[in-house]
């Protein structure tokens, strides 16, 4: 049971508009094509979202993570000089994990964007959610997230277009891959990995050793070590950097070319989201009628159906021969 949360794609456009709809200002996502510190630094990232195919074989280590250290103390924020406690939630709903990863960065970066560097304006909705859950333990925060109508509704509005809500409906063209999202960010000048399936935030490196300015440099080797854990051929993963709206920088430095590119990118995102949220049933019906009418007039109606049948049969046979492997979503990344 999905608990009412649908799957969303890990796409920079989807994530950007999703957080905007929640009230976050001036933050966008950018897909990373290569994992090198220089290009990441260019973006001045606030955090990084890492999506990977969740290996069901690998168990969540209970006492020690495979890399880094569990930092339970960070959840408490005991001492005043430790800074704010880390906002961390346990994941309760599989399909919500993308949004959860986003929130785990956003809610730790809440502040006055103009006055403090590295902070962002998260907006009243998320502020309220953060305050509401500030005293909760991690698992209760996760529950609160999965029960939040606002967040769930915004999340679902970016879900794949499905004309019918049915628990039994499965996309015939998809594999049943389980993807997992985790976030990396610098909090209290420390590099943290935030994974809702782990019992606590995972600290990489020493406390205080990672101010936001060097986040890009610090996170790349950690990501590389992570990626190397998986067999090179198998893994599909995706890396998205969260950063300030790039158009702001473009306007500030007067880079008209960059500004134009970013505007163009936004229009593309808007186009995709319009289609994503659209219920195509009516359109499909009209197209079917129109195409059928045309084929009948041309006398090619039966040939058309036969060719489609053959294509279906071929695909089913191929898939059966392959044993149903391969396929799935996510973009491959070049790590060189």
């Amino acid at each position: 049971m999905s608990g009412g949360w649908n799957t969303i794609e890990s796409d920079a456009g989807v994530f950007t508009f999703l957080i905007e709809s929640l009230g976050v200002q001036n933050v966008q996502f950018e897909e990373l094509i290569s994992l090198d510190p220089e290009s990441l630094q260019e973006l001045n990232p606030i955090g990084v979202i890492f999506l990977f195919k969740y290996p069901t074989g690998e168990k969540a280590a209970k006492d020690k993570p495979l890399d880094g250290e569990f930092d339970y103390a960070a959840l408490e924020g005991a001492e005043e000089e430790d800074g704010e406690p880390v906002w961390f939630a346990a994941q309760t709903i599989q399909n919500a994990c993308g949004t959860q990863a986003l929130l785990s960065v956003l809610l730790n970066k809440d502040g006055e964007a103009e006055e403090e560097s590295g902070k962002i304006t998260i907006g009243p909705n998320l502020k309220e959610f953060k305050d509401f859950t500030s005293a909760f333990p991690a698992d209760l925060r996760g529950e609160a997230l999965s029960n939040s109508d606002l967040i769930r509704d915004v999340h679902n509005s970016f879900a794949r277009s499905s004309p019918f809500v049915s628990d039994e409906t499965r996309l015939a063209t998809e594999e049943d891959d389980v993807y997992h999202f985790i976030a990396y960010t610098s909090i209290n000048d420390t590099l943290y990995e935030l994974d809702g399936l782990q019992p606590a935030p995972i600290r990489h490196g020493d406390p205080g050793a990672c101010p936001s300015e060097i986040f890009a440099d610090a996170v790349v080797p950690v990501l590389k070590r992570r990626i190397q854990r998986y067999p090179q051929t198998e893994i599909r993963f995706n890396l998205l950097a969260m950063c300030e709206d790039l158009r702001i920088k473009a306007r500030e430095i007067g880079d008209t070319a960059l500004l134009a590119r970013e505007e163009e990118k936004r229009r593309g995102w808007r186009w995709e989201n319009a289609l994503r949220r659209h219920n195509f049933v009516g359109f499909v019906g009209e197209v079917m009628k129109g195409v059928t009418g045309l084929k009948v007039r041309e006398g090619t109606h039966e040939v058309w159906i036969e060719e489609a049948k053959a294509a279906t049969r071929k695909r089913v046979d191929e898939r059966r021969a392959k044993g149903g492997g391969g396929g799935g979503g996510g973009d491959e990344m070049d790590v060189s």
Binding site: T173, R270, W271, L275, F280, F283, G285, T292, I305
Partner: protein, 352 residues
């Protein structure tokens, strides 16, 4: 729902008005489940989730009876005095009655829609036995029902498997007859039998009305290949091989030439079914589109569409037809059809 239903079969509800009882055309399921030693007899429309029945009657074992409504009690042929097969639910504790009509394909050789076949009677008997509090091995009964065959001959369709369908609560695999079956059109019980004759005729006869064609095609997606020689579908077979899928039919190679050859009025008609934002975005002088959810007024949306030339509209249509979002929706629509959404889709497509 806390437990899976003991038995489920396709049935419609009836509404009583003034001493007259009329069947409601909504396709639905009648099902029984047991919770805390109490039985629930439920009815829901097929489009509703299984946790949301419209009717949920708490039945004390022994209180309710479930029998066919027969016109000649005691006669050998069991048939209702109507044009459909009616069951009546009665209570010993009250005079209230509920009527339901069977929505599966009637199995009478000559198309007498009021006649209860062996299978139909057995379904009623299982329900009645459950209501009496008897321990019924429903799986055994269902197997027997399936093996009993169609009685007096079958209309060419897999009549047995489609009458009863045990809801899969976790929905991971669908076995057996993928859903509502051919006759999920609802409506007049009289029509139920027709579809089994027309449905498979896609390749066979000269197609006339495009609406009929599309409807036939949609129906045939549900029931699997009609023209193939193998008619039996074993429940073990995972996911019926679809006749074909919408993504295979509506490939860009097919849809793009269609758009190219479409008339301006066809183009305008199609544009009305796309999100207005696509046309707003196409405007040359767009103000900074920083908002993710512009929400244009209908007037603004129409103005945006009107401002474009027919060629520009065709470009937008073609771009949409090539988009991954469109292809995904074809895939999910195919699956939804296979799982039994025909009545809703038929309405949505304005085919009726």
């Amino acid at each position: 729902m806390s437990s899976t239903p003991l038995i489920t079969f396709k049935a419609g509800k009836c509404v009583s008005a003034n001493r007259k009882v009329r069947p409601d055309p909504t396709p639905g399921y009648l099902y029984i489940y047991s919770e805390d030693d109490l039985l629930h007899l439920c009815w829901r429309p097929r489009s509703a989730p299984s946790t949301d029945p419209e009717l949920d009657l708490l039945m004390i074992p022994g209180d309710g009876t479930f029998h066919p409504l027969v016109k000649n009690p005691g006669a050998e042929a069991v048939e209702s005095p109507t044009n459909g097969r009616i069951f009546v639910l009665k209570f010993s504790s009250s005079s209230q009655k509920y009527y339901f009509w069977m929505q599966s394909a009637p199995q009478h050789k000559e198309g007498n829609h009021a006649w209860f076949s062996q299978r139909d009677q057995r379904i009623g008997q299982v329900v009645d036995a459950l209501l009496q509090g008897e321990d019924v091995d429903v799986e055994e009964e269902e197997r027997a029902i399936r093996e009993a065959g169609g009685g007096e001959g079958n209309g060419g369709a897999d009549g047995d498997a489609d009458a009863m369908e045990v809801d899969q609560e976790n929905g991971l695999t669908r076995q057996g007859s993928g859903g509502a079956g051919q006759d999920a059109t609802g409506g007049d019980p009289r029509e139920e039998g027709h579809s089994s004759r027309e449905g498979g005729a896609d390749g066979g006869r000269a197609p006339q009305d495009t609406n009929d064609l599309v409807q036939n095609f949609l129906r045939s997606i549900q029931s699997g290949p009609q023209s193939s020689s193998t008619t039996t579908r074993s429940p073990q077979q995972p996911a019926d091989k679809p006749y074909t899928t919408l993504p295979d039919l509506l490939t860009p190679a097919t849809t793009i030439p269609f758009i190219d050859s479409a008339t301006p009025s066809q183009v305008d008609n199609l544009c009305a079914y796309l999100p207005p934002d696509l046309f707003l975005l196409h405007q040359a002088s767009t103000t900074t589109p920083s908002s993710s959810d512009p929400n244009p007024t209908p007037a603004a949306a129409q103005a945006a569409i009107d401002a474009l030339s027919s060629d520009q509209k065709k470009d937008i249509l073609k771009k949409a037809l090539r988009s991954p979002q469109f292809t995904q929706s074809l895939g999910s629509l195919t699956v939804a059809l296979r799982d039994g959404g025909l009545p809703m889709i038929g309405e949505a497509l304005g085919l009726k």
